[in-house]
Structures are given as structure tokens and as C-alpha cells.
């Protein structure tokens, strides 16, 4: 882009006599906001030396909607539907976190049926989110077919959600004091059918992508993050667990009915892209395990404990509650002044914090690795920008 053309001969002449290589120049490229592998409108300002990444500067805010500000104008009940729109692939879990915060502070009791259904839905949500991630991951690495297989299988989960909650993506299903509807009579049947269908498909995923020698070469030893730096960088979810820290809220501070089910927390050994990949694949298996334990044991009970028009007021004070979404920990910090609207609501979004680790992992690798890293973090841009 320079105005005065510098020829190669000039460069050679300008290079020091003993230089073993020609003088090179570092340059910036904008990866995004419109870029196929930044999954929406994220922009990475990348400083490159040839193909080698020297520095990564994330630039965010292209779809900042001010959800925290909007929350100050909405009642708690109305705010739930905005939480759908943070990380839209974990809509139900997001609903749940806000409801959990509200229920805890307002002292609203729920029953076992509600908690079991919430847990089931959250795990289904985790599976569908990871399915989509797997597909997109494949596409980012060039295996386009994986993308469509992932979407094909995700369709079954979204159908189950559609049947029960009435929406496919932004369900607004979990509400303070219960659920919007009771589960659909066909829910149990549908989930069982899905589990039967999906188990062999998961093996196929492994065959198509995981075992592939190119994938292995692309992921092993790329973007290594030690436990210490992963913690210091504030990552959570599969990114943190891939780096060998077994911090899973479902296990360490069980909510819902997670304390009653058996499941393992997958943890990586090395902290590279492969470990993060593997952690998510294993999480899908563990989610299936959880669903299998719960699906036949949904207790009887009401699906809503309070009237849907009842005014919810939180006592004055600060409360913080969090839950494990598919991408990490979503925390909701509510400062209440005693009214039915939050005085200040802050959302600790998993993607916002996970994204920062790119700046530590990126330098020294190549552009193609940057794509793999970004994919292994599994970002959802609306959750970053909020």
C-alpha cells in the first residue's frame, strides 16, 4: 500500500551485508468483521510476519446491543428473554442462570420436576451447541462435510425443543419459579429416539474428523495454554478444562439435579487445540450419559410454582450466581435496590472472557492455526458484545 514503490533490488541493496535473509516487513491484516472464520462480526487485527502471527488484537463491539443497560429498564421476568440473545446456542442455560439468580435472591421455591426438566434441557442444549461447534470447527479447518453433518444431527435436538418450548433458538423457556410449559407428551420419546440416533453418529464424527491425520496435525500442539495462564486469562468451560483444570460448576457446585447423576468431567492433558476439541467431544458423551439417567426419572409435579403475572421483587443487595453453559461460565451479577427491576445487572459472559486468550495463544503461530484456535475456543459473537 506504500505510495513510493520499493523494488526488490532496493531491498536487497538496503539489507545489511551479512544478513542471511532479505529484510522483511511486518504488516497488519484485518481478519474480519466479515471473515468466514470469525463466526459473525468479530474482528481480529493480526500483525503478521509473512504467514506467522506476531500479535492478535481482538476488536469487538459490532453487535453491541447494550443488554445490561436494557436490563435496567426491564423487570426480571422481562429480562429473561434478553438472556436468550446472549449466547443463542445456550439459550436455555442462559435463561436458567438468570432465573437461578432471581429465584435465589427472591426466595422462590421450585420442585424436583422443574429442576430435572431444566437439567435435561440444559444438557440437550449442550449437545446441540457442541454439534454445531463440531460442524463449524470442521468447516474452519476445511472439512465442509462435517458442517452439514453437524447441522443435520442438531436438527433433531432443535425439533425436540420446538415441540416442547415452541421455539428453536431463543426459547425463553425457563422462567422464574418454573417453566413456561410442561414438557410435551412426546418429549421423552423424542429424546430417547435422539439418543439412539446420535450415539452411532458420534462414532462417525470421530471416524470422519477426529482420527483424520490432517486434523491431528492441525490440532496437536497448536495453541498450547498452560493451566496457570488459562486461569489467569479468565477462561472457563471447555477451554479451561482443555488446559487441565477440572473446574466444572456442574461438579464443583452442583445446581439443578447434577448432584444426583453420574458423569465425568473431561480434562485435557496438554492444553492444545486437540485437548479442547476432545473435551467437547467427550462432553457430548457425558451429556448423553446424564440424559439417559434422567429421562426415565422425571418426577411428577407442577411446572410453574408462581403465577406468571406475579410481581417479582428482589431484596436490596448484591447477588452473583452462575452456571455452566456449553462455552463456559455465565455469571449474572445483580445489584438490586428492592424494586422489581435490577438497579444494575452485569453478565459475565463466557465468550467475552474466553476470547482474550487468543492474544496469548496466537503469537508465533500461522494464520491457519489462528483459525483453528479461534474455532477451538468456540466463540459466539453476540455473547461477546452483549
Amino acid at each position: 500500500m506504500t505510495t513510493s514503490p520499493i523494488t526488490l533490488a532496493d531491498r536487497i541493496a538496503a539489507a545489511p551485508a551479512d544478513a542471511s535473509s532479505l529484510a522483511t516487513q511486518e504488516y497488519f491484516v484485518n481478519m474480519g468483521p466479515q471473515h468466514p472464520s470469525t463466526h459473525g462480526v468479530l474482528r481480529l487485527l493480526v500483525k503478521l510476519d509473512g504467514e506467522t502471527v506476531r500479535e492478535v488484537i481482538p476488536v469487538v463491539g459490532y453487535i453491541h446491543r447494550g443488554i445490561e443497560k436494557m436490563g435496567e429498564y426491564l423487570t426480571y421476568r422481562k429480562f429473561i428473554h434478553l438472556s436468550d440473545r446472549l449466547d443463542y446456542l445456550s439459550a436455555i442455560t442462559n435463561n436458567w442462570v438468570v432465573c437461578m439468580a432471581v429465584e435465589k435472591a427472591a426466595g422462590i421455591e421450585t420442585n424436583d420436576r422443574i429442576q430435572t426438566i431444566r437439567t435435561l434441557c440444559a444438557e440437550l442444549q449442550r449437545i446441540q451447541s457442541h454439534q454445531l461447534w463440531w460442524g463449524v470447527f470442521g468447516m474452519d479447518l476445511g472439512a465442509f462435510t462435517a458442517f452439514l453433518y453437524g447441522f443435520r444431527d442438531r436438527e433433531m435436538v432443535t425439533d425436540i425443543f420446538e415441540e416442547t418450548t415452541g421455539a428453536r433458538l431463543t426459547m425463553n423457556y425457563i422462567q422464574p419459579g418454573g417453566l413456561m410449559y410442561d414438557i410435551h407428551p412426546d418429549f421423552v420419546k423424542g429424546v430417547k429416539k435422539f439418543i439412539e440416533y446420535f450415539k452411532p453418529k458420534l462414532a462417525e464424527y470421530e471416524q470422519l474428523v477426529s482420527g483424520n491425520v490432517i486434523i491431528q496435525a492441525r490440532l496437536r500442539g497448536i495453541g498450547v495454554m498452560s493451566s496457570e495462564s488459562a486461569i489467569s486469562l479468565g477462561t472457563t468451560g471447555p477451554v479451561l478444562r482443555g488446559s487441565g483444570v477440572e473446574y466444572d460448576l456442574r461438579k464443583t457446585e452442583p445446581y439443578g439435579v447434577y448432584s444426583k447423576v453420574q458423569f465425568d468431567v473431561p480434562v485435557g492433558r496438554i492444553g492444545d487445540c486437540w485437548d479442547r476439541y476432545w473435551v467437547r467431544m467427550e462432553e457430548m458423551r457425558q451429556s448423553i450419559r446424564i440424559i439417559e439417567q434422567l429421562i426415565d426419572n422425571i418426577p411428577e409435579g407442577k411446572h410453574m410454582m408462581i403465577k406468571p403475572t406475579a410481581k417479582i421483587k428482589l431484596p436490596e443487595g448484591l447477588s452473583y450466581s452462575q452456571a455452566e453453559t456449553a462455552r463456559g461460565i455465565l455469571g449474572v451479577l445483580i445489584v438490586s435496590d428492592g424494586s422489581d427491576k435490577p438497579y444494575r445487572i452485569h453478565l459475565r459472559s463466557p465468550n467475552f472472557n474466553n476470547l482474550w486468550s487468543v492474544t496469548a495463544m496466537g503469537p508465533g503461530l500461522r494464520i491457519a492455526d489462528l483459525v483453528a484456535i479461534l474455532s477451538s475456543i468456540d466463540i459466539v459473537v453476540p455473547d461477546i458484545d452483549r
Partner: protein, 376 residues
Amino acid sequence: MTDDGEDRKVTNAIDATVWQVKTLATRTLEAVPDSPWLVAGYLLLGIVAVASLVAGLGIVLIYAERKIAAHFQCRLGPMRVGWHGLLQTVADTIKLLLKEDIVPARADKLLHLMAPFLSLLATVLVLVVIPYSPTLQIADVNIGVLYVSAVGGFGILGILVAGWSSNNKWSLLGAMRAGAQIISYEISATIALLAVVLFSGSLQLSAVVLSQSQGWWIWRAHGIGFVAFMIFLIASVAEINRTPFDIAEGESELTGGFHTEYSGMRFAFFFLSEFVNMFVVAAITATLFLGGWMPFHIGNFHSLNAIMDLVPPVIWFLGKTSFLIFVIMWFRWTFPRMRVDQLMKLEWKILLPIGFVNLGAAAIAVLFNLYFFPSH
């Protein structure tokens, strides 16, 4: 083998002379002293033939790619325009031709306009030497293999020029990747070719085909042919920039690589050259390793050979070529993309050593007639 210009005898398996062949190029050369009009006519005929071949290939292959990709991915593919979307490619071509041809503000205009044609030219030049059937070949060059290798490498020029002239960092990155990649893989491809040249003892493509009348080279040389075939196939896929070697386009990394800044008709030309390239590569591979138009013969099993001869040679050629095209598409819709340094590692550390060892083995095999049905 016959000299250039001399009429070539085409034989079937039982070594009986069937017909005499004069290629279009030979006729043109012969006509030069007599009539310039005849030369012009022959040339026009050749141009029309190649142009229609390119256009036809583009339409058929793009449709095939879409449908094959769709069915690999549990989709239907184009279904709306025409019966099962048969006219989809035509519709897309019209759309692309009608679109605005954008040249970036600070691009090198001349080079930017030229690049797609350079890219297509290399492809078309190879098309003219391929023996489609005993009677169908535009020019039978006596150094056919060398020609294919040399002209095929010329395609990189279009990509480099496109990347450089676009004045876009992504394009330039893509072009530089393509340059490194194609030049590297050219070596492996040529070394794999040399094995076949050793076996057949000729650089002429028609002669290479004829040398396989006892059996195709892929199986006739105790695995040497097969290894050479694999190396050539991999190197060829790399040379035409298709997944898993599509780092020059690298959609998810470089947003389109060297053709990021192209639109409309010029983009269509890149697209077309990619698909025709695929055909060329498949055809060359088929010619060298799978006998080209030569039916499936096994040495002296004359009855089998006679049955195989019932299928016309052009069908054999098209069948083999389409199979290879299908395999290349199958690669694309299964594999992820390699990284640029892994690509280089694969070439220089894996393919090239294997290729050299294989070439040595081929030389020994030829020296001691260690292959099935040696001709002498």
C-alpha cells in the same frame, strides 16, 4: 515409435492394424505449403473444438461437483432450475456474466484483467495433447509428457498475477502460498511421471497409451506403478489447489485467497479453469496410469481382451477420467485443509523421498524386465 508427422498405426490387442490416424495438428502442418485458407480452417476447427470442450466441461463438472457434494452431505443439491437442477450452472453462468466486473481502485489494472485468462490458458494448452480415443487427439506431440508437465506448471502464473495485482494482502498471501505449493508439487508429479516414461519408453502420450495394451501401468509393475499413481494423484490434486491442498483459496483462512478481489466474469474464468484443470489432471492420470482409452487388457488373455474391446475406447477414457474426477471430489468433500508448512513437509519429506525410491525401483524393473508381460 513413429515420428512426428508420420501416420500412426493404431492397434488393438491382437496387434492387427485397425486404422490410420492423422491428427488435426499434422493436417494443419501438411496444409501449410498448400493453402493458408485450409490452415485457417483447421485452426478454427481446433479452436472451436477446444472452446466447446472447455465450456461443456465447465457446465458438466460444476453440476457434477454440486450434486456429488450434495449427496456426500445428505443434501439434494440444486433442484429448481431445470430437471433436478440441470440448468443451474447455466443460470449461474449467466448471472456471473451479467455481474459488474470490479477492479479494485489501486490494483494493477492490466495484470488484474489478464490473470484469469492466463490461468485458463495453461489448462487449455494441455487439453490439446490428450488422446481422448485412438482417433481423437488434436495434436500428438512427440514430447507429450514433457509438454504436459511444462505447460501445466504455467498455470501458477495466472494465480500469482491475480494475487499480486489485486493489491490485497489476503490475495497476495494466497498467491504466495500457491506459488510455493505448485512449484514444490511439480517435482513430485514429474518424478512420478518419469516412472511411466521409463516403462513405456516414450514421451509421446499416444505411445504411452499404446504401451499399455498388455495391461495398465498401475498394476503391471509390482506396485511401482501404483505408488507412482498415488504420488501423481496427490501431487496433481495439490497442483490444482483443491482440498485438502486448497491453501491458496483457503476460504476460512484467506476469505478467498487469490481471487478475493475478483467478481463477475473474471471470477467465472477462475472457477472454470479450476474445473477444467480437474478434468485435465484426471485425464492425464488416466492416460499415464490407467491406460487412457486402452480397454482393460491382461497380457495374452485374448478372449478377455476381445470382450473388453467391445466397449468403445472413448467410453473407456471417459469412464476412467470420470472415476478419477469423482475421487478428487470425494477427497474434497471429506478432508480438512492442510496447513501451509505441513503441505511443504508432505512434499519434501514424504512424497519426494518415496518418489525417488520408486523411480529407482522402476529403473531396475525396466532394466531387468521385472514387470508383467514385458514387451521385449
